[in-house]
C-alpha cells in the first residue's frame, strides 16, 4: 500500500528495460521476454544471471533484458551456455533459442548439452518458421504448412516431418525437467510462467538440465491476424506438439 491507499497490481518487471521491442504485433517473443524477466526478478537471481541470445528474431534480447547476455553463433547457444556455466558454476545461465537455431543448425549442441546434464535452462521458442530471415521452413514446420521455402506446403516426403524436440530430449538419461507450453491465451501465459519458474528453480537447486519449449505465434509468417495465430497455436500446433510435462525430477512423465 502506498500513501494514496492504492495498491500496485501490475508493473513493468525490474528485469525488463523500457526499450520499445522490435517484435511484430502479436509475436510471442515479447511476452516470453516479459515473463522471463518477471521470473528472474521473483527468484531474485537477475544479478547473477547470464543469458545467451540466439541468431534469430531474439538476437536483440540484450536490448530488453537487464542481465548479462552473450550472443552465440547460429545454433551454438547451448555450447556457449555450457562454457559460461562451467567457468562460473554459481551463476544462473540460460539460453533463449528459436526453432531454426535450436532444432536445425544447433541440434547437436542441444542434444549433447542435455545429454551431459548441464545445469542450464534452455528456453526454446517454437513458432514453426524462421522469422528473422523471412518465414522459411523450420524443422518444426507442420506438415502441409506453407512457408517461403515450402510454398506448396511442407511435404514430409523429401522435407521430413516436424521435429519434436521435447520428445527427443526426453529419450536421454540426464535431463531433469522438460515441459512444453503454448502461448495461446491467458492460461498458456500463466502455464509458461510456472514452467520457467520451475526450470530456473531446478537450476538454482543444482539439479541439472531443464528445457521449456514454448509454442509461440508468428502472425507475420503464419500470414494470419494475431487472433487467428493464437487459434493456429491452440489447434494445429498443439495437435502436432502436445503440451505437457515430459520429465520431472529426472523421471519421464506419462502423457
Amino acid at each position: 500500500m502506498n500513501k494514496d491507499n492504492k495498491r500496485m497490481l501490475y508493473k513493468r518487471p525490474e528485469g525488463l528495460t523500457d526499450k520499445v521491442m522490435h517484435y511484430c504485433a502479436g509475436c510471442g517473443h515479447s511476452l516470453a521476454h516479459k515473463v522471463l524477466a518477471e521470473v528472474l526478478d521473483e527468484l531474485e537471481v537477475r544479478e547473477k544471471t547470464v543469458g545467451v541470445a540466439p541468431v534469430g528474431c531474439a538476437v536483440f534480447a540484450y536490448h530488453y533484458l537487464k542481465c548479462d547476455i552473450s550472443e552465440a553463433a547460429h545454433g551454438r547457444a547451448a555450447a556457449v551456455a555450457t562454457g559460461i556455466k562451467r567457468a562460473l558454476p554459481d551463476r544462473i545461465v540460460f539460453s533463449y533459442q528459436g526453432d531454426g537455431d535450436l532444432a536445425a543448425i544447433g541440434l547437436a549442441e542441444t542434444v549433447h548439452a542435455a545429454n551431459r546434464g548441464e545445469n542450464i535452462t534452455v528456453i526454446f521458442v517454437n513458432n514453426t518458421v524462421y522469422g528473422m530471415t523471412g518465414g522459411q521452413m523450420a524443422p518444426t514446420t507442420l506438415n502441409g504448412q506453407h512457408t517461403a521455402t515450402c510454398p506448396s506446403g511442407r511435404d514430409p516426403a523429401g522435407m521430413g516431418h516436424p521435429l519434436r524436440v521435447c520428445e527427443l530430449i526426453n529419450t536421454l538419461e540426464a535431463p531433469y525437467y522438460i515441459e512444453r507450453v503454448a502461448l495461446d491465451g491467458v492460461g498458456g501465459v500463466l502455464r509458461m510462467k510456472k514452467a520457467l519458474h520451475k526450470a530456473f528453480s531446478v537450476q538454482i537447486a543444482g539439479k541439472g538440465y531443464s528445457l521449456v519449449e514454448i509454442l509461440s505465434p508468428c502472425p507475420t509468417y503464419f500470414r494470419m491476424t494475431a487472433s487467428e495465430s493464437l487459434k493456429f497455436v491452440n489447434r494445429e500446433m498443439r495437435d502436432c506438439f502436445p503440451v505437457r510435462v515430459f520429465r520431472d525430477q529426472g523421471t519421464p512423465q506419462n502423457a
Partner: protein
C-alpha cells in the same frame, strides 16, 4: 616430454581454467593430458561433441572471463573458423592450437604446414586477425603457449599456436615454466552477472548506422598496436649471408642445420625464422632482402608463406622455393641440395620476382 604434452603443461602453468577439445590425430596426447590434469586441479575439461561446440564453449568461458583453450588439427580447425571469427568480432581472448596435418580434405595424419594461409590470412569471415605463433621445438611448444595466454588477455584477441604433427609427437627434454602464470588483466566487460553494475553484453552483431564501421576501426587499431609491439623472430648467420633461408616451424628447425652444413661447404647461408607468422617480421625481411643475392623459402606446403616473402622482397632479390606438400618432412640433405644449386642472379633484378622452382 612430447611436444603435445609440453604444450598442455604450458597451458596449465599459464593458468588455463577451461579446456574443451574433440579428438583428432596428431594431437590426441594433448586432449588426453588435459583430461587427466585439468580435473585433478579442479579446472574444467569437456570432450565436446564437435570442434564447432569446442570453440563455442571456449567462446562462452572466455565471455565469462576465464582463460580458455581448445586444440585440434587441420580438419578440426577448419570447423573452428566460425568460432574464431566470432571470438575476434566479440573481442574475446582465447588460445587455439593447431597441430597441423596434411590436407586438403582428410589429407593424412602426417605433419604438414598447409594451414599458413588459413591461419595468418584469417580463415573465418570478416576483417580480423589472430596472432599466430610458430614453435620449432618442444621447449617452444611449452613457452609459446604460455606467451599465447599473455597475448590473448593483453589484446583481447584469439591467439593461435600453429604447430605440426612432427613437433607435436617428438620428444625432447625441456625446462618447465616455474614462475607464476602471466598476470590476468581486469576484465570489466566479462559476463559475471550484473550485480551493482549495468548489464554487460558480449556481441559481434552491430547493425546501428556506422556502428560496425567504428568497431572494425577499433579492431584495426588493436592490430596496428600488435604489429608494432609483438613481432618475434630468430635469425642465424644473417650478418654476412648471400643466401637467406626463410622457414617456420619444423622447416625452420631443419634449416638451422642446413645453414651449418652449407657454411661447412663454403656457402654463405643465413636463416630468418619468423616466430610470429602474424604479425610477420616485415621490416626485417625487407632489410635482409635488400642485401642478399637469393632468398629460399622452405615449407611443407606448395608455397604459402612464400607469397608473403615475395610480397616483402619486392623484387630486390629472387625468391626461390622448395616445398614438400605430401605430409612428409624433408631431410637436411634435400634442403642442402636445393641451397647448393642456387646461383647468384645474372644481373640485379629490377622489381621482378624470381621463378618458382
Amino acid at each position: 616430454m612430447t611436444g603435445n604434452e609440453a604444450l598442455a603443461e604450458g597451458a596449465i602453468r599459464a593458468g588455463c581454467q577451461c579446456y574443451f577439445g574433440y579428438p583428432i590425430t596428431p594431437q590426441n596426447e594433448l586432449t588426453a593430458y588435459m583430461s587427466a590434469q585439468m580435473p585433478a586441479r579442479g579446472r574444467v575439461f569437456i570432450q565436446s561433441e564437435s570442434e564447432l561446440a569446442a570453440i563455442s564453449m571456449v567462446f562462452g568461458a572466455a565471455a565469462a572471463g576465464a582463460r580458455a583453450m581448445t586444440t585440434s588439427s587441420s580438419p578440426g580447425i577448419s570447423l573452428m573458423q566460425e568460432g574464431l571469427s566470432y571470438l575476434a568480432g566479440a573481442r574475446l581472448p582465447a588460445v587455439v592450437v593447431n597441430v597441423q596435418r596434411g590436407g586438403p580434405g582428410l589429407g593424412s595424419i602426417d605433419p604438414a604446414q598447409g594451414d599458413y594461409f588459413q591461419s595468418v590470412k584469417s580463415g573465418g569471415h570478416g576483417d580480423y586477425h589472430m596472432i599466430v605463433l610458430a614453435p620449432t621445438s618442444v621447449q617452444e611448444m611449452h613457452d609459446l603457449t604460455i606467451h599465447a595466454f599473455r597475448l590473448a588477455d593483453c589484446y583481447r584477441v584469439p591467439v593461435m599456436v600453429l604447430a605440426d604433427g612432427r613437433i607435436g609427437q617428438m620428444m625432447e627434454p625441456i625446462r618447465l615454466h616455474e614462475g607464476p602464470p602471466p598476470p590476468a588483466p581486469r576484465k570489466p566487460w566479462a559476463l559475471t552477472g550484473a550485480a551493482g553494475r549495468d548489464p554487460n553484453c558480449v556481441r559481434s552483431l552491430l547493425v546501428g548506422e556506422g556502428e560496425l564501421e567504428q568497431h572494425n576501426y577499433v579492431l584495426q587499431d588493436c592490430y596496428r598496436h600488435i604489429r608494432r609491439k609483438e613481432i618475434m623472430y630468430h635469425e642465424k648467420c644473417v650478418s654476412d649471408c648471400e643466401t637467406l633461408l626463410v622457414a617456420w616451424g619444423t622447416c625452420a628447425r631443419l634449416a638451422r642445420g642446413v645453414v651449418d652444413l652449407a657454411r661447412a661447404k663454403g656457402k654463405r647461408v643465413g636463416l630468418l625464422q619468423p616466430t610470429t607468422l602474424w604479425p610477420f617480421p616485415e621490416q626485417r625481411l625487407r632489410r635482409l632482402a635488400a642485401r642478399v643475392k637469393n632468398l629460399l623459402v622452405v615449407e611443407m606446403n606448395c608455397g604459402q608463406m612464400l607469397e608473403d616473402v615475395q610480397r616483402l622482397a619486392e623484387g630486390r632479390a629472387p625468391v626461390h622455393f622448395k616445398g614438400y606438400p605430401g605430409g612428409r618432412v624433408p631431410t637436411e640433405t634435400e634442403i642442402l641440395r636445393a641451397v647448393m644449386a642456387l646461383r647468384p642472379p645474372r644481373s640485379v633484378p629490377r622489381r621482378k620476382t624470381g621463378k618458382r622452382k
